[in-house]
């Protein structure tokens, strides 16, 4: 990809096996860090490795070094249980202005949307778009709702949204086109922690409904 990054294609499916292989390859490259590597971006079926062209002896050598690390990692990914992160969400009301339209689109009641959304378990397939923003797979098919025709210029931090077959949380205020169904008081991007992103690729995520009172009292 350009003259300062190389893409390792792992697979085309959005499933557990691909996710495990992508995570394993990213971790292996991060651990071994061939000379010149500056950044590693795992996402869905690929791992993109950024390098400093001034620090590599040749592109061929870098590509060979990456292959040497990636090939075994792809085959022997660990079966370790990923961690589960619970995200408290106050659904509806001022925090979820699109809960009603998601219900209308899906033919469910607002209560059923909340039950389905908080009843499922999700996996982080990528972090991107904005700092700490998780692309979550595992949205129940019945909740699939197309993005809004016109994106909002400012989505508040913590907003939980549905965009087609994906759900996610906006860690920082930003423009956004997803349907907002609730908001979490939990910070997904913490500048003074390491790593600052609460969620990382491979994590399991559960949403737990909370009341406006619990939201206000969250520390």
């Amino acid at each position: 990809m350009g003259d300062a990054a190389v893409v390792l294609e792992i697979g085309q499916a959005i499933d557990e096996a691909t996710l495990a292989r992508v995570s394993s390859v990213a971790r292996a490259i991060s651990d071994r860090r061939p000379v010149g590597v500056t950044d590693i971006v795992p996402a869905f079926g690929s791992v993109t490795v950024f390098y400093d062209p001034r620090k590599i002896s040749s592109y061929g050598e870098l590509a060979a070094a990456l292959q040497q690390v990636a090939a075994p990692a792809e085959q022997t990914y660990p079966a370790s249980a990923p961690r589960v992160v619970e995200i408290p969400v106050c659904y509806g009301g001022e925090f979820g202005p699109d809960l009603g339209s998601v219900a209308a689109h899906t033919g469910l009641t607002a209560e059923e949307v909340i039950q389905l959304h908080s009843g499922a378990e999700y996996r982080v397939h990528a972090i991107g778009f904005s700092p700490g923003f998780p692309y979550l797979g595992g949205l129940p098919a019945r909740l699939n709702t197309p993005r809004r025709a016109t994106p909002r210029p400012a989505v508040p931090a913590g907003s939980v949204g549905i965009g087609s077959a994906q759900t996610g949380v906006y860690p920082v205020a930003s423009p956004g086109g997803w349907n907002l169904i609730g908001r979490t008081p939990r910070a997904l991007f913490r500048l003074h922690q390491s790593p600052p992103a609460l969620l990382l690729i491979g994590d399991r995520v559960k949403f737990r409904p909370i009341t406006p009172g619990e939201f206000a009292a969250w520390k």
Binding site: S46, G128, P131, L200
Partner: protein, 308 residues
Amino acid sequence: MEIKVIRAGPMTTVQDAGRPGHRAEGVPAGGAADLFALRLANLLVGNPEDAAVLECTLAGPTLEFAEDTTIAVGGADFAGVPAWQPVVVRAGGRLALGPCHHGCRGYVAIAGGVEVPVVLGSRSTFLRAHLGGHEGRALRDGDRLEAGAWVLPHEVKHWRVDPHVLPPYSNEPTLRILRGAQWNDFDADWAAAEFTVTPVSDRMGIRLAGPKLVRRRGRELLSSAVAPGTVQVPPDGQPILLLADGQTIGGYPRIAHVIGVDLPLAAQLRPGAKVHFAEVTLDEAHRLWRQQERTLAILRQGLAEKLR
């Protein structure tokens, strides 16, 4: 040393060489959009190449310095001060930068570097996340900044950088590109067309206007990493050229990638500029990187002798 921001200008931010290493958390490397200008402007005032400077968009600020200092302006050139040479500013003196004559982003390096807290390894401002720089935002009238204080030991105003060593900055540049993953999904002659820079352009990316690019074939794409220089094509067929604060992953087809040594040219594109593309090979792109490093190494050497 204190610097008073008398007038901030339309969009002035603190930037350094950026914060690579955090893309997996959704944080782009950021930093100066024109890294060549950042590096050379810093060298001109005796700073490390990656010291924090002020990146000023389309017009510059008016600054008041509490002590004698030396500054240098690179990248876009402003009314009010000569570019690419050290300029001594006296205690209490003001530096008033007007509109850019050429280019889009000027870099004001100040001897000692702009002192703001280091966030995730960098002093750069990442506006979208309100992170880094001066309080995570663009400068405002009345802000006060700190910079290291030293004055270059010799009278420096009688020399300047030979313009031949600069990137070929232009309002009608040809940007050299490598093929993107979806290059073949588009008609082969797209790169021969002329594109115009639209006003919907910022540090995230430049929206270009030109013939509508239609994806003829190819399967649905999974989102994956993108980078400064990536040219992606959204459904409206008008390409977006990503810059320093571009998002870390994207799902649009990538038709091409502007090579690293031409990113300074991209960073200097202002609305209305005309852009052409020319394909090169990866080997050529890497050779050009090395050549640029040699140029900077020679300048570094020469300046070190002058500034000794």
